[in-house]
């Protein structure tokens, strides 16, 4: 009677699983395309599409005064580019119709007798009608008109005081200086966030669906009856995705730097550490979802149910500070939030380990907890 041959060492097992997984992943060219090239295309398209800076708001002018002065006001108001003239109509009713039909989003009504009133020192009232469906756009458009006429009004008031021989009061001026992103462009800010988002979608959903698929086809059972330990199997399964995730990050950062001028001001080691820890959480989440799903369809929906709120509550799209307190508390358990902070601070603000250790620690804790839960559930299910 012979003793069963000893199991191969952990290293050999791991290498075998890794080899199998890599082959399986790169065999399907379409999957590789979707994992490597698709995120790149998306980043470029999104980088161009997402621009929260509001300008060129279509506007109509109702010049009921028709004087040289009112025409000059309309011209100068439109000159700063926030509003774009799409037409001039004769009456307020016609302007409202333009708004109803969506041809214009703002209407500026210059009152009758405006020039005469101003010359005579009587107050004149300019009316702005806004399409409020997009509050942000309405806000910016209304602000631009209010600012223009506010400045004009102040100038006029000053001139009148001086003419009356009164010394005009002091004027306080704000001198803005914008650090890190002086021209306030959206892409350098959005691209790191988009990278965090795409990495989540790619890794979590692909892992969850991949495992469910193997379970559906029965190949998972076949691998589990081999002497390979489940833990090593999981590690080996995730390893190719860590590599793919890394390549994705590098591709995205490269495209970001080259096309959109995203800087890398901080320590690259922080970025690498952050990426590894983040991939631990996203892959772990994919694993966890697959252990509670019975089909690929469920895995996909489960991955989605995790990914969407995680993206929304990450601060990538909208500031976390604007959320209500209880929701801000929820974001503390969101890995995307920490990774987005790591990316933005390293790239834009030039942060290092000293600035980002709390975020990295949070990612480590979250990743450890998620992976431990997922492994336990996996072992229980396939014991």
């Amino acid at each position: 009677m012979t003793a069963p041959p000893p199991s191969p060492s952990a290293r050999v097992q791991l290498a075998a699983v890794f080899r199998k997984e890599v082959r399986q992943t790169i065999r399907d060219r379409r999957v590789m395309f979707l994992l490597m090239v698709a995120p790149l295309i998306q980043t470029v398209v999104l980088g161009f599409a997402v621009d929260f800076e509001v300008d060129r708001v279509p506007a109509v002018v109702v010049d009921r005064d028709g004087s040289a002065e009112s025409r000059e006001h309309a011209r100068r108001l439109l000159a700063d580019g926030t509003l774009r003239r799409v037409g001039a109509v004769a009456s307020v009713a016609a302007a409202e119709e333009e708004l109803d039909d969506g041809r214009a989003a703002a209407a500026v009504v210059l009152p009758e007798g405006m020039a005469a009133d101003l010359a005579a020192g009587r107050p004149a009232e300019v009316q702005v009608i806004l399409d409020g469906t997009d509050p942000n756009r309405a806000n910016v458009a209304g602000g631009a008109v209010a600012r223009y006429f506010g400045e004009e009004g102040e100038e006029l008031a000053r001139a009148r005081l001086e003419a009356a021989g009164v010394r005009p009061p002091s004027q306080i001026e704000i001198v803005p200086r914008v650090a890190f992103n002086p021209s306030l462009r959206t892409p350098p800010y959005m691209i790191p966030g988009i990278a965090a988002m795409l990495l989540l979608i790619v890794t979590t959903i692909v892992t969850a669906m991949g495992l469910s698929r193997e379970r559906e086809m029965g190949t998972l059972e076949q691998v589990l009856v081999t002497p390979i330990r489940p833990l090593l199997l999981l590690v080996g399964k995730m390893a190719p995705f860590v590599v793919i995730g890394f390549v994705d990050v590098m591709l995205l950062m490269g495209a970001g730097a080259w096309i959109f001028g995203v800087p890398l001001r901080g320590n690259p080691a922080v970025l690498v550490t952050g990426t590894i820890l983040y991939l631990m959480t996203t892959l772990g989440m994919g694993l966890l979802i697959s252990t509670v799903s019975s089909s690929q369809q469920q895995s996909f929906l489960g991955g989605f149910l995790f990914a969407l709120p995680a993206i929304l509550l990450s601060g990538v799209m909208t500031p976390i500070r604007s959320m209500p307190d209880w929701l801000q508390a929820v974001t503390l358990a969101n890995p995307v939030r920490y990774y987005a902070e790591v990316m933005r601070t390293t790239l834009m603000r030039g942060g290092g380990f000293a600035d980002l250790w709390p975020q990295l620690l949070a990612l480590l804790l979250l990743g450890g907890a998620i992976l431990a839960t997922a492994t336990l559930r996996f072992r229980k299910r396939h014991a």
């Binding site: 999104l46 409202e96 969506g102 009316q127 469906t133 309405a138 803005p176 306030l184 149910l305």
Partner: protein
């Protein structure tokens, strides 16, 4: 002729019944498909806003006079900005670098003197531009507050009189500027796109993967009938999602329905048919659920989110993307939903959107069925 039609309808009904059984067997998928819209609406409606709120700023008051304190108070009394401590410029700089403060206000020495003598005075505001959205709003807000402070300092000489030029702003459709009213129609489009494209793509790809599609082909049910039967239950599911989203929007966020409800569902129907066709096309090409999901995410989810005008106005995009957005059906749905719900538009205004959705549906269903017929033929 009538007999053939009856037979076809029976077969389509049979396919639809089979598919419904699939959906009912797997209630978790159903819960996820119906629970997701509610969760998303909830998060979007309550959690997501672009408004700047309680931004921490560091103050370096080098003047330390009553007037300088009044200016600092004027700036930080608003909800938008919160002072996290007066400090030396060096200390403020450190807070700014570490990200604890998003802006630094520097009031120069001699501020009070300049104000008293009527000179032009400058205060400095250093803003963290890494988040361009916050930075822009902060600059605009600070500008307004300082202007108000100028007027207050001017005293009765200027403030007492009426300003010569006044601006009256009148916001229509959404006077409260509530983000939820803006988001719900967009969100409806997004959720419908995800549900319809991905669920169809997955269910049909699943049949290919398991080989059960060949079995269906071997039955007397025609190809077109298989397609219609498989898509019908998802069309119903999509309409249910739309109803759910609207009902939730009305109940939780007071979403107005100023136009015709029937028009909302008509537009939704046209949109859904197109999305189901897209899902079908993806599944025929992909044959595999994993590839189908990623292709669906790439071709439906992201364009619906970013090129539809749901979050970012289309007019702000570069021209090539504006053109690209013309073939994104979600764009027309978002526009039509906002038109009907918020503006009360009717068919007279929205017919181009409806026509575009119909055109998309016809073209994509045509391609999908053609490819479907060719497979295995």
């Amino acid at each position: 002729m009538r007999e053939r039609l009856r037979k076809a309808l029976v077969r389509i009904g049979g396919m639809a019944a089979k598919e419904t059984l699939h959906i009912r067997r797997d209630p978790r998928t159903l819960y996820l498909a119906l629970g997701m819209p509610v969760l998303m609406l909830f998060l979007f409606g309550y959690g997501v806003s672009f408004d700047v709120d309680r931004v921490p700023i560091a103050v370096a008051d080098l003047d330390r006079t009553e007037s300088s304190r009044a200016l600092v108070d004027a700036l930080t009394a608003s909800r938008e900005m919160v002072s996290i401590g007066a400090a030396s410029p060096g200390e403020a700089e450190r807070l700014f670098r570490s990200g604890a403060a998003l802006a630094v206000l520097v009031v120069p020495e001699g501020y009070a003197r300049d104000v008293a003598t009527g000179k032009r005075t400058r205060v400095q505001l250093l803003v963290d531009g890494a988040d361009a959205v916050i930075a822009n709003q902060l600059l605009a807000k600070a500008d307004g507050l300082v202007r108000a402070e100028t007027r207050r300092l001017a005293g009765p000489g200027l403030a007492g009189r009426e300003p010569p030029l006044q601006v009256k702003v009148w916001t229509r459709y959404n006077p409260g500027a509530r983000s939820a009213l803006f988001m719900v129609p967009g969100l409806a489009a997004y959720l419908l796109a995800i549900g319809a494209v991905l669920l169809t793509a997955l269910t049909v790809a699943g049949e290919w993967e398991r080989g059960s599609m060949e079995q269906l082909f071997a039955s007397p049910v025609g190809r077109l009938q298989i397609v219609l039967g498989k898509l019908l239950p998802y069309l119903v599911l999509g309409m249910l999602q739309l109803l759910l989203v609207l009902a939730f929007g009305v109940v939780a966020f007071d979403l107005p329905i100023r136009g015709d409800v029937a028009l909302v569902f008509l537009v939704g129907l046209f949109f859904l048919v197109g999305m189901l066709g897209q899902g079908l096309l993806i599944s025929v090409v992909a044959k595999n659920q994993l590839v189908a999901t990623q292709a669906g995410a790439l071709s439906a989810m992201l364009p619906s989110l970013l090129l539809s005008g749901m979050l970012v106005p289309i007019q702000n995009m570069p021209v090539p993307l504006q053109l690209l957005s013309r073939i994104v059906p979600a764009r027309y749905l978002v526009q039509a939903l906002r038109g009907v719900l918020l503006k009360g538009n009717g068919l007279d205004v929205l017919w181009p959107e409806l026509a575009a959705l119909a055109a998309f549906a016809v073209v994509i269903l045509g391609i999908a069925t053609a490819r479907f017929q060719r497979r295995l033929a």
